[in-house]
Structures are given as structure tokens and as C-alpha cells.
Amino acid sequence: MSPPPAEVPSYLTAEAGLWSWLRTKDHKRIGVLYLVLVLLFFALGGFFALALRLELLTPEPDVLGPMAYNRAFTLHGVIMVWLFLIPSVPTTFGNFLLPIMVGARDVAFPRLNLFSWYLFAAGGVITLWGLFQGGADTGWTFYTPYSTTSGTDVLPILVGVFIIGFSSILTGLNFIVTVHTLRAPGLTWMRMPLFVWALYGTSLIQVLATPILGMVLLLVAVERVAGIGLFDVGRGGDPVLFQHLFWFYSHPAVYIMILPTMGVLSEVICAFSRKNPFSYRMIVLGTVGIAFVGFFSWGHHMFVAGQSVAGSGAFGALSMLVAIFTSIKVFTWIGTLYRGSIVLSAPLVYALGFIFFIFFGGMTGVAVATTSADVHWHDTYFVVGHFHYIMVGSALMGFLAALHYWFPKMFGRMYPSGPAIGSAVLIIFGFIVTFLPHFLLGNMGMPRRYATYPAEFQALHVASTAGASLLAYGFLGIAGYLVWALVKGPLAGDNPWRSHGYEWASHSPPPAANFLTPPEFEREPHDYTVVEAPRVY
């Protein structure tokens, strides 16, 4: 049918040498470049998470003093949000798979794509330099007037995040244009793989929300440098205005982190239960709905910040609408298992963990969006628990599911299944032990960002720290077997999962041109009423 992969070099071997990677315009290589950076940043952010948990083992400061603690949680937040979660799935798996899934040779603007990577790297370096040489203590939210008056070195971090934002915009722009103009003939909107839909929705948010963040960071930076007084009460400014502008980006940013992993979930659940999605329409509706309504719910971060009661009511009601778009996805994923032919492998274990965690993350989200209940929970560990269920429990589990599902696609080699499932179970268990106590701590009234705390909170903090160490072992396990698989793993073949997703219509790892002949997608993705996996073009 098609020439064996040996005759055509894969994208990995098409050109040799580090220099060929650093000037590549191939979306697959750029995806791998991103993956390297993103994993590095994740390791760094994770290390500081451990440091925080270690400090919180006892009520009084012993490992880190209050200053070091405040810098460490800022570092953890900034790295995890901007250097890991926001780019995690779109820039790596999105870059690698989006063109393949729509049957294109590359993204619309390959040079711009490489430029985005360099911007991201530069922004990351500046941010890290700022975090390590001076160390800001503002938290990742940069609330004014604290951020404009803090004596620590906030400026490089603002600049770094601004540049990363720019990179994120360019990636989103590239994806939007790719989806619009480079779909293979016959690939209509309502037949696109759900991962592509998710990336498309994400890109819209990236393009429309990130500039507001850029602006507000710029304003804080100028305020620090020149004292322009925009958020300074003494000059007539309003510090709460910053929160409005910040959350106008940062609330949709939550969906930048979670939507792509929801796309991953739709792919993984279909592939491993060998079923068509239970309701393709509902997932698409959910994706588009989240991307749209997500823009109008930012005020639920300010129920107790002095916003008008009517305003809080409107934002509260709109937040309920966002929640409904997530809940219909949960129902659809579980429905997809019905009458499937389920193979329990590492990606599916992560996916099941994801469904469980996003349910709790989502329901606690609804809880804190309920105006009166939020008065108690706002800025306590309940909120910390809520967003870690979304950011770690869901987004990170989705990232790991994607990594395990597409590892053979990207590198052509297979990891051992036993240790992979073992690590997955360990990570899910460790996660629950780490973050379930946070809800209870929040109920008790433990405020967030506390370096020290009253003794009555200690028992739950100890449990949480113990869970964090389990998580650390789980991640070390993954690092171990994936590195082994990269070097010595058995060859995976073109389609080791026998998945009917469109991305498997090219060789694994794909040749530089993705497809040797122009692909034709005759059937819907994940149509398992027939035996044959998609033809490899």
C-alpha cells in the first residue's frame, strides 16, 4: 500500500544535528522543542511545590522563612501557570498533531511558529532570571497596589510573562488560520477530530484574551517604573480595576489550560473504548460554549472585593452556564464507554482520573461561584483545592494521557505498559491524598498564601505533604521509563493502539512531509463499526 517507513526518513532523522533543530520550520520538530522546554519548566515548578509543602509540614517557619516562602509560591505559580499549563498541550501535542489531523503538511505560517518558540524561550528565560536573581513576592496574580509597591524585583517577571503572552497569541493565530484554510478536501467542520475543535476554541481565547493581559501587565510595569498612578489611590486611581482587567484574561486562561486537555480526553476515551463519541455535537457545543461564555464570568473572582451586588449576581449566573458546558462533556465521556470494547492502558487510566477530578474540580467551582457560599470559601484552601483539581487533577492528567497516547506516534517507540499503569495509579492516588485535605482546610478557614498557620490546621497539612511526596515518586517513575523507552524501547509500528483517529493515517514517527501521498479522510474519526484502522498515507 505505502512504502515502508525505512525508505523515507522520519522527521526525527530527516536532518541531523542540533542546529537543524534550532532552525527547523517543521511543526513536529517545533512541537518536540516545546515539549523539552515545557517539561523542564514543569520539573522546576514541581520542585518548588515540594518546597512549599515541606515548609507547611509544621505551623512555624523552619524550612523557608516567610520571605522565602512568599517568593517560592510566586515562583511555583508563575512557572506552573505561564510556563507549563498554558503552553503545555497546545504548543506540544497541538503543534505536532493539528496539521496531521486536518491532513495538512504544516501549520499555515511555519516561520512564525518557530518564532513563537523563540519568543517563548526568551520569555521563559527572562521570567526565570527575574524569579531567581531577585525573586518577586507578589503571587502569580500581581494584585495592585501590592505589586506596584513591593520592594522585590517584579519587573523582569512582568516583561517575561508579557513576551510569553505574545508567543501564545502567535501560536493561537497560527492554529486558527490552519484550521480555516488547510483542512484536507472533504474534511468538514462537523467531522473534525474533537482535539482539533478543542485547539480551535483554545486559540480563539488565546488571541482575544491575551492582549488584555499584555496591556495590564504593561500598565503595572509602567506604574512601577514611572509612577503613573493608574492603580494608585493617592492619585485617584482604583486598585480593583486591575483585578477586573487581570481576570478578564486570567479566567479565560483557565480554559486555555483545560480545553485542549478536554480534547485529548475525547480522543483517548474514543480510542481505548473503541467507540465513536457518545455525542459529538455536545462536545463541540461545550467547547464553543466554554470559549464564548468564559469571557463573561471573570467577576466571580471579586464577590468580596467591593463589586456591586448586582454585578456579582450577573457574574455568578454566567459562571453557572460555563459549568454546564463542562458537565455535558463529563456525561458524554462516560456515555462513550457504553457498549465499547475497553482496553485498560496507561492513557485510559489517566483519562478516568481526569473525569473524576474534573467532576470534583467543576462541582467545587460551582460551589465557589455560588455567591453567598463564596464569602466563606474565597481565598481559602478550598479555592486552592478547587483550582488544583482543575489544573493538576485535570489539565496535568490530560497532559499525561496525551503524552502516553501519542508517545509512540511522536517517537516511534513504546514504553513498558506495567510501570506506566503503576505510575498512573500512584499519581492519581498521590493527587487525592495531596489535594483532598485542601477542601477540608478551606472549610476550616485556612487562608491561602500563609507561610505560617495556627496549629489546628497541622494534621491536614501533614497529609497533604505526604501525598505530594507520592506524586513526586510517580513523576520520577514516568521520567525513568520514558527515557528508557526513548533510547531502548521496542519499535511501536505505525498504529500500536489500532486507533481510528485521523492522526494515525500517517507513519509513526511521521516523515517530514507528514503524508507521502495526499490523505483522504473517508470516514469520521473514531468510526469503529469497521475493522480496518485508517490507511496510512
Binding site: 512568599n70 459549568a323 455535558i328
Partner: protein, 350 residues
């Protein structure tokens, strides 16, 4: 039942009328989530076991799609609950945001890293807020530097302290007791040490404490002859307010006898309905009066020029409170009513 739920969820004692109200919603939301989670887990597990691939299974599966009625159900059922919670929550939230008339006013000022409290009738304290049991207390909260947040877990009450503006919340603690105060908005180095305590006293004990504290404050005021005179008629806090007004030059623009001048007269200003430049009507209550000192141009009454300078950072919380009390004491004479009276707080119960 609700006591059991409270202990299971690690919620602290419900020590305010708002806490008992809102805990019901907490239990409803969390309980319902747990119920649905169990349901989903069971369904998922059954599917996992029942439809696990077994050797010899056909590699194909039938095409199954959700029927329309099921899609509609998935959309509408959760939405119904979400909106129900929203409605219950918003009713409570509105209740929480509208202090009853006649509540005891306490001015709260957050600064790095402590809480200061000043009472309408004189006393003030740092770190410890004394309130009487069984009487609504209204807090007028502001900050002197960065944003803080005033949080009493036992009351389920929290509000940000924002520099340059006064925000108000209220609570009513039915029983005497001691409750922790935390700062929940990150405010720098000693954020986690910015704690305090609410001490709820039996009404009689509170009166005793208040009287004792006032004694100290009157002594500092007595050298001012005029102050002493006003004090006799209107109470020590209003007297102090008059002194502050004289020191800060308020009388250059405001009068106390109804004569029109550059700024609105203070006679009868309290609770007067004023029309703003924007056409909006506002009530000149405590929040408006304090805001007008700190951020004068934000809400200018129609017919006046935005010329008042800000007094942000120039007035201590106690001084600002004293000014408000003084303005409150300036009531126009009406037949059958004393010219000026110390404001009387009547505990209102709901």
C-alpha cells in the same frame, strides 16, 4: 443532621446568623455533588467491567449516539440545580450585603500587618474586636496601604479591605465567644501573621467595656472647651469629629448651620437623598460620607464643583469615623424633636 454534616466537612462552629443560613447551602451543594459523583463512579465502573475487551471479542463496536432526549436531559438537569443554587445563594448574598438599620457601627482599618477597630461612640482597639451578642454589627472596612481581607471563619464572613474606599458588611453573633480573624488577601511579608480575634460579649459586659473605654477617650478631649460643650450634647465621638473638622479645614467649604457654601452643608446631610451629577440618586449614608472624604470626585452631588481634595492618608480611621458621627449628629431642628441627640442604636432582630 446539620451538626453531623458540619463535622464531616470540618466546618467550624456556626457562630453567626449568616453562618447558619449559608451552611445549609454548603451541605446542599456538597451533598448533591457527592451523590452524583457516586452515581457516575458506579456507572463508569459498571461500563468498565461489563465492556472490557475480552479475548475473542470482535474488533468492531456498534455506533451508539445519545438520543436527543438524553442530550436535553444532560443539559437541563444539572443546569436546574446550578440555577437553584445560584438563586438560593444570591438571596443570602443580598441579605448579607444589606445591613439592618440601627446596627452597631465599627470602623475597621487594615494595615500591614494588623487590624484596627474604631467605634462610633469613641473607643478603639487593635487586633481585638469587641462586639455585643445578639445585636447586628456593621463593619465599615478600609485599608491604609495594600488590599487586605477581613475573614472570620466562624461567622462565614469575609470582605476585602481596599485602600481609598469603605466597604460594608454586617453580622450578628447570637452567643458570647471568641473567634479568629484572618487576613485572606495576600499583603506581603507577614501576611500569615495578620491575625486577630473577635470577642463576642454578653450585652451587659459589652456596655461595661464600652463605658470603660470611653472614659479614657473623654479625658483626652476635655481640654477643648468648645469640644466639651458639644460633647455634652452629642457624645464624645461627635465632639472629636468637630475638632477634626476644624483642624482639617472642612469649614472652609462646609457649613454646619444650613448656609449654602462651596460644598454641601452638613446640617441634615446624613441620610439625605442627593442627586448626583450623573443623574443617579444616592443616600448620604456612612459609606457615602467616608467615600467622599477619601475619593471626593467619585460621586459629586449635582450643583457642586469637583474641587474637594482627597483626605486619604490624612485621616486616621478613628478621625474619619468621628467626622461621620459629627455629621450624623447635625440634625435640623424640628418641632417635638431635640435639636441634637446622640445617635441611639436600637438592636433590630430579623
Amino acid at each position: 443532621m446539620s451538626e453531623l454534616m458540619r463535622r464531616m466537612l470540618f466546618l467550624p462552629e456556626a457562630a453567626s446568623t449568616f453562618a447558619t443560613r449559608v451552611d445549609g447551602l454548603h451541605f446542599f451543594v456538597i451533598g448533591m455533588s457527592m451523590l452524583v459523583a457516586t452515581g457516575l463512579a458506579v456507572v463508569g465502573l459498571v461500563f468498565l467491567v461489563r465492556y472490557k475487551r475480552r479475548p475473542g471479542d470482535a474488533p468492531t463496536t456498534p455506533r451508539v449516539e445519545a438520543p436527543h432526549w438524553m442530550e436535553a436531559l444532560f443539559l437541563s438537569l444539572p443546569l436546574t440545580f446550578f440555577l437553584l443554587w445560584f438563586v438560593i445563594g444570591f438571596l443570602d448574598f443580598s441579605w448579607f450585603n444589606s445591613p439592618p438599620r440601627g446596627a452597631l457601627d465599627v470602623y475597621v482599618m487594615g494595615k500591614q500587618w494588623m487590624w484596627k477597630f474604631a467605634y462610633a461612640d469613641g473607643p478603639s482597639s487593635v487586633g481585638v474586636l469587641y462586639v455585643p451578642a445578639g445585636r447586628p454589627v456593621r463593619l465599615l472596612i478600609t485599608s491604609r496601604d495594600v488590599i487586605h481581607s477581613f475573614f472570620v471563619p466562624d461567622f462565614r464572613v469575609k470582605h476585602d479591605a481596599v485602600p481609598g474606599r469603605y466597604t460594608q458588611i454586617w453580622f450578628e453573633a447570637p452567643r458570647p465567644g471568641r473567634h479568629a480573624i484572618y487576613c485572606t488577601e495576600y499583603c506581603g511579608l507577614m501576611h500569615s501573621r495578620m491575625r486577630g480575634e473577635v470577642v463576642v460579649l454578653a450585652p451587659a459586659d459589652f456596655e461595661a467595656w464600652s463605658a470603660q473605654e470611653q472614659g479614657g477617650d473623654v479625658a483626652t478631649l476635655s481640654p477643648f472647651h468648645e469640644g466639651a460643650e458639644v460633647e455634652e450634647a452629642r457624645g464624645p465621638m461627635a465632639a472629636r469629629g468637630r475638632r477634626v473638622a476644624a483642624e482639617k479645614g472642612c469649614f472652609k467649604c462646609h457649613t454646619e448651620d444650613g448656609t449654602p457654601h462651596i460644598g454641601p452643608t452638613w446640617l441634615g446631610l446624613y441620610l439625605r437623598v442627593e442627586r448626583l451629577k450623573s443623574g443617579e440618586d444616592i443616600v448620604a449614608d456612612e459609606a457615602y460620607l467616608t467615600r467622599s472624604m477619601m475619593d471626593p470626585d467619585a460621586q459629586v452631588v449635582a450643583g457642586f464643583l469637583p474641587v474637594m481634595p482627597t483626605y486619604l492618608g490624612q485621616l486616621s480611621a478613628t478621625d474619619a469615623a468621628a467626622l461621620v458621627e459629627y455629621i450624623k449628629s447635625l440634625r435640623p431642628a424640628r418641632p417635638g424633636e431635640a435639636v441634637s441627640q446622640e445617635p441611639v442604636y436600637v438592636p433590630t432582630s430579623r
